[in-house]
């Protein structure tokens, strides 16, 4: 088997510059939205003292989860020693770092005091899962950065396996941490469940791979590099398995909750009476995020169409965002149960379903996170050798027969 040849993309076409300009535009819009939100305060957002985490957190948590999932392709090559994934690994590490950067930007810019970021970096309460996550995120940049380096510089190649293994362990812990942000919230009916952590790991596999496939297919198409059917099929089948995995965890989570009478209220809210959250769950998560992509991927003819699988990947991403919306905002919309068996009313909306109407600014900030991630990728593949010149079947797999 020939060693894959990695080269920079030329990146001098008008299309390339337009892509950068477009992404740059989204980033500037997001910064403008931040200025608008932070200048006078959060009163301009849909967030409140009842729905304390809103649209920015939906995007941020999604991006952070997807970041660790994007690393999966590299892990398969170095940890599980699948040579066919080796040419795909550098882009995988790049995307992981870029998505995390995008997610963290959104998270930080939504803080009440983003100017005090230095406090978050210097003062730690080690009992806080959030504090662990700050360490895990920073560590992720370092560990994956080193892994990337061992792959990009030939003299470092020999360390690539060790680095890849560390990165794999680190990302598992990181996603466990992200899931635990919600899993350990005993106060809220919708969250208090240990299953959140493994569920977030499987979600990360699925969303990370979906974004990876879109980026891979787009960059190979736009640079006229060959992307073979074997690689394509391998990735899309993997995506199918991951989608099914997420589906399994969602089913188990809700069934567990339905078994306990205590949780019937919140389950009825999400699954039946929750209005927008119920619609998001059934149409967004189940139909768009699960059924349609699975149908496309496993369809014998449609499943071989690159554009159809591209749509499936896009749907997985949309379904993922919908699931985040249901988990994060739906979970807060359901009232806290303070007095079981009693009807509650107060000047602070006790006992009522909390309203949330996301404003344009907070949504634009969230979208800006995606733009940052894609901008980093588009720029990095121009200046460093991330992409193999060919992913044609012969180049990837020596035993491939026509």
């Amino acid at each position: 088997m020939k060693k894959p040849v990695f080269t920079q993309i030329k990146g001098n076409s008008s299309g390339y510059w337009m892509l950068l300009a477009l992404l740059g535009g989204f980033i500037l819009t997001a910064l403008g939205a931040t200025y608008y939100m932070e200048h006078g305060g959060h009163y301009v957002t849909g967030m409140s003292n009842n729905i304390v985490w809103g649209m920015p957190h939906v995007f941020a948590v999604f991006l952070i989860v997807a970041a660790s999932g994007a690393l999966n392709v590299a892990s398969i090559s170095s940890v599980f020693a699948k040579t066919a994934y080796k040419p795909l690994a550098p882009l995988s590490t790049l995307l992981a770092v870029a998505l995390l950067a995008g997610g963290l930007m959104v998270l930080v810019l939504d803080l009440g005091r983003p100017d005090r970021l230095i406090v978050a970096m210097t003062k730690y309460n080690f009992k806080s899962i959030f504090a662990w996550n700050i360490i895990l995120y920073n560590g992720f940049f370092v560990v994956v950065g080193i892994y990337m380096w061992t792959m990009l510089q030939r003299s470092m190649n020999k360390y690539s396996k060790v680095a890849g293994f560390s990165a794999f362990i680190w990302r598992l812990i990181l996603t466990t941490g992200t899931g635990s942000i919600f899993g350990f919230l005993v106060a809220r009916q919708a969250y208090d469940a240990a299953i959140m952590a493994p569920m977030f790991i499987v979600m990360s596999f699925s969303y990370g791979l979906a974004i990876y496939m879109l980026v891979l297919m787009a960059s190979y198409k736009w640079t006229n590099r060959p992307l073979g059917d074997a690689t394509f099929k391998r990735l899309k089948n993997l995506l199918g398995v991951f989608i099914a995995g997420v589906f399994y965890f969602i089913v188990v989570k809700h069934l567990t909750n339905l078994y306990a009478t205590e949780h019937h209220g919140v389950e009825a809210f999400i699954l039946r009476d929750g209005g927008i959250y119920t619609q998001m769950f059934w149409y967004g998560v189940m139909l768009i995020g699960t059924v349609i992509p699975l149908a496309i991927i496993y369809h014998p003819t449609v499943g071989m169409s690159r554009s159809a699988v591209g749509v499936a990947s896009l749907f997985v991403i949309l379904g993922g965002l919908a699931l985040m919306y249901v988990i994060i905002i739906g979970g807060q919309a359901y009232p806290l149960v303070l007095f079981p068996g009693k009807e509650v009313s107060s000047t602070f909306f006790d006992g009522m379903v909390n309203n949330y109407a996301p404003t344009l600014a907070e949504t634009l900030l969230g979208i800006g996170g995606f733009a940052v991630a894609l901008f980093i990728v588009a720029f990095a593949v121009k200046v460093l050798r991330f992409l193999p010149e060919s992913l044609a079947d012969e180049a990837v797999d020596p035993h491939h027969s026509k």
Partner: protein, 253 residues
């Protein structure tokens, strides 16, 4: 004459500081001894200690349904309420609120004030990434707004919706109750008052209205009125199932 270098100034300061702290230390020990015998009268220089745990007992049977005096007293003391002019009602601060609860079976209606419950094991303190959400030695839970970054994780973790995020620039804060944009705040059991041996504003207002539904005191002092009453008639925690051991207890629910 030798020129005054910055070092010598610092040294001077150090000497002075050491002398003063020794003096303060001496002052602190002496009244501390007396403190345990006579009623509490904390000298300003003394640190709060875990010899005390402050608590409030709410007798819901005495709490009047239409009365809002504890809330307005808290607003007056701490300057929240009308200070936020741009925020929506669900964005405005709520340090303490009156809650009406109706039993679904019997139709029995009760009214009670709900605020930070000053847990012994506060979830808000556990989750805070910077340590801004904190519990003092004497059991009062509050936010150190100097290092609060406004992430709102504590609000996600609080079972009582006791915390508020400030959504806009504030002005004309009370001298004793600093509060401002982008940080989280909640009932601090009027710590500045408690440190000067006064009752929280809500408790004072309730007595003034002659309802006497609120009783403030030291849960660790078996002789205190609140301990005696709790021992005699008991007091429930809201969401006792979470095992938080709250410092605010309720009778009649």
């Amino acid at each position: 004459m030798s020129p005054k270098t910055p070092e010598s100034t610092t040294d001077q300061y150090r000497r002075k500081f050491l002398k003063q702290s020794a003096a303060v230390g001496g002052l602190m020990v002496a009244p501390g001894v007396i403190l345990n015998q006579v009623a509490h009268a904390k000298p300003d220089a003394e640190k709060v200690s875990n010899k005390n745990r402050w608590g409030i007992l709410v007798d819901t049977n005495k709490c009047s349904k239409g009365c809002n005096d504890c809330v307005t007293a808290c607003q007056e003391e701490n300057g929240w309420g009308k200070s936020e002019t741009k925020s929506r009602p669900d964005q405005q601060a709520q340090w303490i609120r009156k809650v009406t609860i109706t039993d679904k079976q019997t139709g029995h209606v009760q009214s009670l004030p709900l605020m930070c419950q000053h847990c012994e094991n506060p979830p808000c303190v556990d989750v805070c990434p910077t340590g801004a959400s904190m519990k003092r030695e004497d059991g009062i839970v509050l936010v150190d707004r100097h290092i609060c970054i406004g992430c709102r994780y504590c609000m996600m973790a609080c079972p009582y919706k006791a915390r508020s995020f400030i959504h806009e620039h504030l002005q004309y804060q009370k001298v004793n109750a600093p509060r401002g944009i982008g940080t989280v705040e909640s009932c601090n059991m009027c710590a500045p008052r408690v440190d000067r041996d006064r009752e929280p504003a809500c408790v004072e207002a309730c007595s003034k209205a002659e309802h006497g539904a609120l009783l403030f005191g030291d849960l660790k002092d078996p002789e205190s009125a609140i301990s005696v009453e709790l021992k005699k008639h008991g007091g429930k925690q809201i969401r006792a199932d979470l095992g938080l051991n709250t410092g605010v207890r309720y009778q009649g629910i």
